[in-house]
């Protein structure tokens, strides 16, 4: 059941993002990502994201909305004396950025060679 819910929720948010992307006539997905990041922060404050995380699991956690709530929960939990969620969130993001930079370095070396 979780698999179906993950598919449906993940798909629904992506469809919404695609709709926003087209209606706002954006050229570049980054502004749309920032908007959904902030939406995650708003939904997180009202407890919607943790509720969806429990029922749909990866359908929520895999999306870029989740860190918006993750940073809030992480900071509050760190203030309460448990820094583990904050550390886990920052480590995940750092891993993603490092993996992106490695991939970019490999892929862009072909671009640079093609130019020569």
């Amino acid at each position: 059941m979780t698999f179906v819910l993950a598919f449906l929720l993940g798909g629904a948010f992506c469809a919404l993002a695609q709709l926003v992307f087209m209606v706002a006539k954006m050229e570049n997905p980054i502004p749309c990502l920032i908007a959904f990041f902030c939406l995650g922060g708003v939904l997180g404050v009202f407890g919607i994201i943790p509720m969806l995380e429990e029922t749909c699991q990866a359908g929520m956690m895999a999306l870029a909305l989740d860190p918006g709530f993750g940073i809030q929960g992480g900071v509050f939990s760190a203030l309460a004396g448990n820094p583990l969620p904050l550390v886990a969130l920052l480590a995940t993001i750092t891993c993603m950025i490092v993996m992106g930079l490695i991939t970019g370095t490999i892929a862009s070396s072909h671009v640079a060679q093609d130019q020569k």
Binding site: A6, I97, G100, I106
Partner: protein, 137 residues
């Protein structure tokens, strides 16, 4: 109108399938990792594994095809950061930047994304909590 509707459906399918794939990784991790590990930590590990798979997909050019098909469906999932950074770096290199310049361009985009997202989320949560609204109040 029709093509717009079909691109929303394609984003739905792509995003849903990516989430489903990460859910499968999470389920597999659940069998391996100790059960007392919190769900969010299991999700984080699954995301990193999915990111490593995305490296292969990006380098082989498969992810670019997925992004062509799915639009935001391929960009909104967190693993979309890997191809997004690759795209920024390739663009910078194609415009004649050095490797260091390309890395700086990629980091600038990440700083914008996480700076705006985290900044807004934190300001919003502290404002709401100060007003006594929301789950953290």
């Amino acid at each position: 109108m029709n093509s717009k509707f079909s691109s929303v459906v394609r984003a739905f399918l792509t995003g849903g399938l990516i989430c489903l794939a990460i859910q499968v990784i999470m389920a597999a991790l659940g069998a391996v990792l100790p059960p007392e590990l919190p769900l969010s930590l299991r999700g984080a590990i699954a995301l990193v594994i999915a990111g490593a798979i995305t490296i292969v997909l990006t380098l082989s050019g498969v992810y670019a095809k997925i992004a062509d098909f799915g639009g935001m469906g391929a960009n909104l999932p967190f693993i979309g950061l890997v191809p997004a950074l690759t795209g920024v770096m390739c663009d910078a290199r194609a415009h004649g930047a050095s490797l260091g310049g390309a890395i700086a361009a990629a980091l600038k985009v990440m700083l914008l994304l996480f700076g705006c997202g985290f900044g807004f989320s934190l300001v919003f949560v502290f404002a709401c909590t100060a007003l006594g609204v929301g789950i953290f109040a």
